[in-house]
């Protein structure tokens, strides 16, 4: 009987002290996984027919045309 009382007492103390424990208060964000539909690549269409190099060349040319120093001076 005394053993049972003792173990109940120990368990009660342990439960009571759980509230005093230190827990991490900062929320750590975990990057979720995209849940939507998959997207196609910009070169997967009729214009480029999957030719990535051609698409990149086109974008590169457009990029450079924004530089007026280069565009005007040749």
């Amino acid at each position: 009987m005394r053993r049972l009382t003792g173990s109940v007492l120990v368990a009660a103390v342990a439960v009571a002290l759980v509230g005093c424990g230190e827990h991490e208060q900062v929320v750590v964000y975990k990057q979720g996984q995209y849940q939507g539909k998959p997207d196609t690549k910009p070169w997967d269409n009729e214009s480029f027919a999957g030719d990535r190099a051609q698409w990149e060349a086109s974008i590169k040319a457009r990029n450079q045309s924004q530089n007026e120093y280069r565009r005007i001076n040749g």
């Binding site: 979720g32 539909k37 196609t40």
Partner: protein, 208 residues
């Protein structure tokens, strides 16, 4: 792989709103939704500055972090896009975004909040490239046509640049080193050149 970014040169932007108009027209964006807008600081004061602002396609986008349904994704080109079929229109992304990029259509008389709409870097969304569904939900997919965002390409002063970040950095660097800084970049002499010879002074003892 290109890492697509926008950069706006505040020294060049003249607040013409050409980028805003081009964007609205190209994507047939509804009334009340502004994927791009021009912000002016110290409006009307000499030395005022304007900047064209839209989604900056952040590398570590806060909108992606707060979205409860994970409807955002980043393409291999670094463009942040979202799936409108999944969006619940909660508005968390609007509060998280430091640029105010996410927009919500006001569908009803009582301000019903619709699905989020934002700048797509003219890259459409998760629908078949150049399809009718893609245009209706996300606007035109210029990237799939081998073109850059219209707002940047239409900019008359080339204040707004869009494209591969490395190339944009090179363009901007060349521009800054050419034009100088501070008071050198605006004023009469910069616009019209310095006179070759000093202007003739009026004759002090002129005819009376």
């Amino acid at each position: 792989m290109a890492r697509m970014k926008f950069i706006c040169d505040a020294e060049r932007c003249i607040e013409c709103n050409g980028c805003v108009t081009a964007c609205k027209n190209e994507h047939e964006v509804p009334w009340g939704v502004n994927r791009r807008r021009v912000v002016t600081i110290n409006d009307g004061v000499p030395g005022e500055r304007s900047m064209s602002v839209a989604c900056m396609h952040c590398s570590d986008a806060p909108c992606m972090a707060v979205c409860p349904v994970d409807c955002f994704y980043r393409t291999d080109e670094g463009v942040v896009l979202h799936d409108k079929d999944l969006c619940i229109g909660c508005g968390y992304c609007f509060y998280a975004c430091p640029f105010g990029a996410p927009q919500f259509p006001q569908a009803g008389a009582f301000g019903l909040r619709g699905k989020m709409d934002k700048c797509t870097f003219c890259a459409g969304g998760p629908e078949k490239n150049a399809s009718e569904d893609e245009f209706r939900k996300y606007g035109r997919n210029r990237l799939a046509e081998g073109k850059l965002p219209l707002c940047a390409e239409v900019c008359s002063t080339k204040a707004l640049l869009g494209g591969d970040a490395d190339v944009l950095a090179d363009i901007y660097r060349q521009r800054v080193t050419t034009r100088g800084k501070g008071a050198d970049i605006w004023g009469w002499s910069t616009a019209y050149g310095k006179p070759d010879a000093p202007a003739q002074q009026p004759d002090a003892g002129g005819k009376s």
